[in-house]
């Protein structure tokens, strides 16, 4: 079966600092993966390389068997890769609904309907016409989340989806992620909240200082010495 995403020995440095040091990952379709590691371990850089925001220095990145390293971010998004950002990046002077609309092509009426559906799903339907910049941080995160879904991507990268979201809504969000997985989508999330990771992810990758130091189901990872050492020191 073709991997949904294959990261093959990808390296990325900034000046003298190696952020990602030959990391390889393989994501099978229809599963939820987690990417964890202490701050500065290279998680967001890896995301940026996959989505084309950064150019990797070495290695290959394949999406559904096709090479996407070297493509522009918009081309990668069009192929079916969606992502959210660590710090929310909604379009502040567009309304919540417009944030969703702007992502779509094709019939506008259908797009609007779908947009409103998604907003209802995250209980923001009343704020559809509100400038996204006026929403609370948690609300912006939700808008960003459903914005990704507007294009119906098959690979979804979530950068710290739980941060800043209240518990009730968080559960709805996690349920949504599970439903996406059930629909056959692949999800990779970066998260610091261990409860979320352990409860949601089927396989977890652990990065430390740009290296992948562990990979496996959550229970195994939790007990892995190297992981504990990376987070807490010796």
């Amino acid at each position: 079966m073709t991997a949904a995403l294959e990261v093959d020995a990808v390296k990325k440095s900034f000046g003298g600092v190696t952020a990602v040091n030959g990391v390889s990952l393989r994501l099978e379709p229809g599963r939820i993966y987690g990417l964890i590691g202490p701050n500065g371990s290279g998680k967001t850089t890896l995301f940026n390389c996959v989505t084309g925001v950064e150019r990797r220095d070495a290695g290959r990145i394949l999406f559904q068997g096709e090479r996407i390293d070297g493509l522009k971010p918009w081309q990668i998004a069009v192929k079916g890769v969606g992502r959210t950002f660590q710090v929310t990046r909604v379009f502040p002077e567009l309304s919540a609904l417009e944030n969703l609309l702007v992502v779509t092509r094709g019939d506008r009426a259908t797009a609007e309907r779908r947009g409103r559906e998604l907003l209802t799903f995250v209980k923001l339907e009343k704020l559809a016409g509100e400038y996204a910049g006026n929403l609370s941080y948690g609300q912006q995160k939700l808008v960003e989340f459903v914005r990704v879904l507007m294009r119906d991507p098959s690979l979804i990268l979530l950068d710290e989806p739980a941060a800043g979201v209240n518990r009730t809504l968080l559960n709805d969000l996690l349920d949504a992620v599970r439903r996406l997985r059930d629909e056959g989508k692949t999800v990779l999330l970066v998260e610091h909240d261990m409860k979320v990771v352990m409860g949601l992810c089927e396989v977890v990758f652990v990065l430390d200082h740009g290296d992948k130091i562990a990979e496996g189901p959550p229970g195994v990872i939790q007990a892995d010495e190297r992981v504990i050492e990376a987070y807490f020191g010796r």
């Binding site: 925001v53 918009w74 950002f85 379009f91 567009l94 294009r151």
Partner: protein, 308 residues
Amino acid sequence: MSPTRLFQGGLVVIAAALAVYPVFGTGYGVRALLQLFMWIALAGSWNLISGLTGYVSFGHVAFFGIGAYTAAILITNAGWSWPLACIVAGVAACGLALLIGYPCLRLKGPYFAIAMLGLNEVLRALVSYFEGLTGGGSGLSLPTLQASVPIYYVMGVCAAAVTALTYVIITSRFGLRLMTIREDEVAAEAMGIDTARHKLYAFLLSAVGPGIVGGLAARDQGYIEPISVFPLATTITMIVMVLFGGKGTVWGPVLGAVVLFVSQEIVWARFPYVHQLLFGAIIVAVVLLMPRGVLGILQIKYRLPRTV
């Protein structure tokens, strides 16, 4: 009657009044209004690239100048009629935008602004250099023609067309996508928007107006020289009009053009020596106090629709 209907009714009345004005009005009045239409078209065009995408074009008058010279040369040296020459002028401006658009728009904000400024000066120098064609520093005289009234109408149509184009763009998803470039270009790209292409389209659209209008202005003046059609002052004026009225809005450039042009005619004609000082002060005031412009502020305060 709802505000929209009132507004639309008002528009129709004004349009009708303007349409019949040349019949009663003075020659001076016709030429003044002609100028106003020109500024509306210029400001509105600048708004298309700078207001919507946030890429501030500092040398936009380059398109005006290219249009002026293209039309002037066609009329003088090749004997073309001015309407045709002006259309070609618009195409020429578009061509220039295409040529420099792709490399220029890759530049980040301030670099783009300065590159456009540099471009303006390069064109001016080039025009001076190719004296045989352009008359160089001594300028180019067009064959005399009294055509103020037809030009008045064509300018009016241009002004209306630019405003209408802005309306259409702002209410479309294309316009929304342009705005995302202004809001957060990286996020826009991540969402699948080909920002490079969109910027280029906006740039092309913003060049046509000044090109045509430049040709018309050249025909109307009867004489052009490099300084008169590539002056920084034109760019400044375009910018101030849009900033004042509200960049990124439909009617902001119109409001800015009307207010500033009228003030200029009434007040500043009397104080020519402090013209730049006042303009500079206005730019400073607008940037510090109301960067969104009059309509921009109203839009946010009263939650007006985007079509304002």
